[in-house]
């Protein structure tokens, strides 16, 4: 042993082998030699780097030496000991590290100490993190929020809440700071009613990114959020109800569906947008009660809402529902026309397949289908008819129109499947060939492929890239400076619309709307 004797005069390869051996053996006897090599480096970068690694390895089983090293006059050894204490979770180092943190003024060094303390995760360190929650460096502040969240420090909950409230200040809400993100994350780590309730209350945060982070956090928390979401649904305004219903749909918990069904019974679904969101959520969750509620929704007369109902039922086709629907579609009245149109427009091929068995319902569906000018929809149902086979299906296939290839292109972006289906129907009716996207990024992909769109329709709140960002990007794309953009939104806040106008939106259409309203707006902005 005593491998470090005369180390500096040894050959490079020998030095490497010696340091490798020490890293493996972790023999405390080598500590003085290694510390000497750290304090007076040999000058070769790779050897010096290996010395640090070897020292780290040996120190990993020498807690006492590490703690002593925390106050060593040599800054290199001090930093190394801070890191080793953190990496190996030395509990006894928490006290001395907390003292260092209290006195440390250099932000980089403070960050080292806080990171080490966070990895040790000793509850005794909570006052240190709390003390730096207001630090001006956003990284230090974020590290403290992360650590306090992980330590489940209930005393910090009010501070986290305050951060989220402050993030909505008029001069701040346009960007989502990393501290706001971390505060939401920390709050969501407490499975407490008051923290969940607070996040639910903030679902309608002014900043779309924060809204998305809160939605994702609540969705990830799952079941415990359901009672509070339902409570918010019961007491909140229209926007809150819509957002709460959306999250309930994402959580996909049975109790959420039951609550929404009960809300229908209590008459809390008067607003058309709220009802639309409720049907979409019920379609996602798919409980028996929810499906019954969706079947009741087949009596809705608003085209858009009916599409949400049909879209939801398409995911959970069952014989009972089909027999009710068959009777309704085969009835040859106004409602059966609307239903048939909704099945075609949402491209509900499973429902179509089941309903077609009845000749009356089949005829109603075929009448709606032959009126469609959308080649993709016609192709989709042509394939279904081909699968069904038989003489009736073959005859019906002959009835399908040969749609001319239109050259007028339009783009529509919305994260709701029913809304996309609605846009598709409206645009094809107007003679456009629609390209559809479920978020801004997908929409922009279409533009990047070089298609020249005559009009763009977009939702405001979408995952991945929201409408506002999309509009900004489109306006910066050569050839798209003046292309009309219509934003379809339920946003009632004036601040959002003015932001959107600033970004370059040509016109707004507020949900709910009759298809004619959007059609008229499209014709108006395209001069057609």
């Amino acid at each position: 042993m005593a491998t470090l004797d005369d180390f500096r005069s040894k050959e490079f390869l020998d030095q490497i082998m010696i340091l490798n051996e020490i890293s493996g053996n972790k023999d405390s006897g080598d500590l003085p030699g290694l510390i000497d090599l750290l304090k007076t480096p040999v000058g070769d970068t790779s050897i010096d780097y290996m010395v640090v690694n070897a020292l780290n390895a040996v120190l990993s089983s020498n807690e006492a030496t590490v703690i002593k090293g925390l106050s060593d006059p040599h800054p290199g050894l001090r930093t190394l000991c801070i890191r080793v204490a953190g990496e190996h979770g030395f509990r006894n180092a928490a006290g001395p590290l907390a003292e260092i943190a209290a006195a440390e003024t250099d932000p980089d060094q403070l960050m080292e100490v806080l990171n080490a303390l966070a990895r040790i995760a000793a509850p005794s360190a909570t006052p240190v993190f709390r003390a730096h929650l207001d630090h001006e460096d956003p990284f230090i502040k974020s590290a403290c929020i992360e650590a306090l969240g992980r330590l489940q420090d209930e005393a910090s909950i009010d501070s986290f809440k305050a951060m989220l409230v402050e993030s909505e200040a008029p001069d701040r809400y346009e960007t989502c700071d990393i501290t706001t993100w971390k505060a939401v994350e920390a709050l969501s780590s407490f499975q407490r009613d008051d923290t969940i309730g607070f996040l639910v209350e903030k679902l309608h945060h002014k900043n779309p990114t924060v809204r998305r982070i809160i939605t994702d956090a609540l969705t990830a928390m799952g079941k415990p959020t359901v009672p509070l979401l339902l409570q918010a649904f019961e007491t909140g305004d229209t926007d809150t109800r819509i957002l709460a219903a959306n999250v309930l749909g994402f959580v996909r918990d049975r109790a959420g569906a039951d609550g929404l069904v009960a809300a229908f019974d209590k008459g809390q679904a008067d607003d058309a947008n709220v009802r639309y969101a409720m049907y979409e959520a019920l379609g996602r969750i798919g409980t028996m009660k929810g499906i019954i509620c969706l079947v009741d929704g087949l009596h809705e007369t608003d085209e858009l809402i009916l599409m949400a109902v049909v879209g939801g039922l398409e995911r959970h086709v069952n014989p009972g529902m089909i027999s009710t629907m068959t009777a309704m579609v085969a009835k040859a009245d106004d409602q059966s026309d609307r239903l048939a149109k909704a099945v075609i427009a949402t491209r509900a091929t499973t429902l179509f397949d089941a309903l077609y068995e009845n000749a009356g319902a089949g005829d109603a569906l075929m009448d709606a289908l032959v009126q469609s000018r959308d080649p993709e929809i016609i192709d989709a149902f042509r394939a279904v008819l081909a699968d069904i086979g038989g003489s009736r299906a073959e005859e019906d296939m002959l009835r399908l129109p040969q749609v001319d290839i239109t050259t007028r292109q339009a783009l529509a972006a919305d994260d709701s499947r029913s809304m996309c289906a609605m846009h598709r129907a409206i645009l094809t009716d107007l003679g456009f060939e629609p390209s559809l996207a479920s978020n801004g990024e997908e929409a922009y992909d279409h533009i990047e492929q070089g298609i020249q769109f005559e009009v763009i329709i977009t939702d405001m709140n979408m995952p991945v890239m929201d409408g506002m960002e999309l509009v900004g990007k489109v306006r910066n794309t050569p050839g798209y400076e003046d292309v009309p953009i219509i934003m379809v939104t339920t946003e009632s806040e004036a601040s959002q619309q003015s932001l959107a106008s600033k970004a370059g939106v040509t016109a707004f259409v507020t949900k709910p709307f009759k298809p004619e309203t959007l059609k008229a707006k499209i014709l108006e902005v395209t001069g057609g």
Partner: protein
């Protein structure tokens, strides 16, 4: 952990640019991106695997990228496009390497892929992630650049 991972990259970016290109960037206020798209005129992108998986990108504005190349190569620029591409690839590689070494000293072991360089005015690149993406803006006298982190 997110901020702990980001710090070494910031330090490495400042170190590498100061040493190699004599540019001392000023760190701006970090924020969460609205989308998964990185925008710039020249970008270097590395995939990171290990403790956590993700990607890190450095997107430079044209002015910033050209200034860096001029500082690195002086008057020996033959083909500005090719040189910018090489330089950004090289810088991204060095920054990724130095940052990963910094993380290894803290016991976090990561592997980095070979950098990819994307060029084109106002191009966009997508990070594949469902988690929020942290962006750190930097300013230099010749233009700005942004580092973006996206970890699963």
């Amino acid at each position: 952990m997110d901020v702990e991972l980001a710090k070494p990259f910031i330090k490495a970016a400042v170190d590498v640019l100061s040493t190699m290109a004599f540019v001392k960037p000023q760190v701006g206020k970090p924020y969460v991106k609205k989308n998964t798209v990185a925008a710039g005129d020249v970008s270097g992108l590395v995939g990171i695997t290990g403790e956590r998986n993700g990607s890190v990108s450095l997107s430079f504005s044209k002015g910033c990228a050209v200034a860096i190349v001029k500082n690195m190569l002086g008057d020996e620029i033959d083909d500005i496009m090719q040189d910018v591409k090489d330089a950004v690839g090289e810088l991204t590689n060095m920054i990724s390497g130095q940052a990963r070494a910094g993380l290894a000293e803290r016991g976090y072991v990561f592997q980095g892929s070979t950098p990819t360089v994307i060029m084109g005015d106002g191009h966009t690149i997508s990070h594949m992630a469902k988690t929020p993406i942290m962006a750190i803006p930097f300013t230099t006298p010749d233009g700005h650049f942004t580092i973006e982190f996206c970890f699963e």
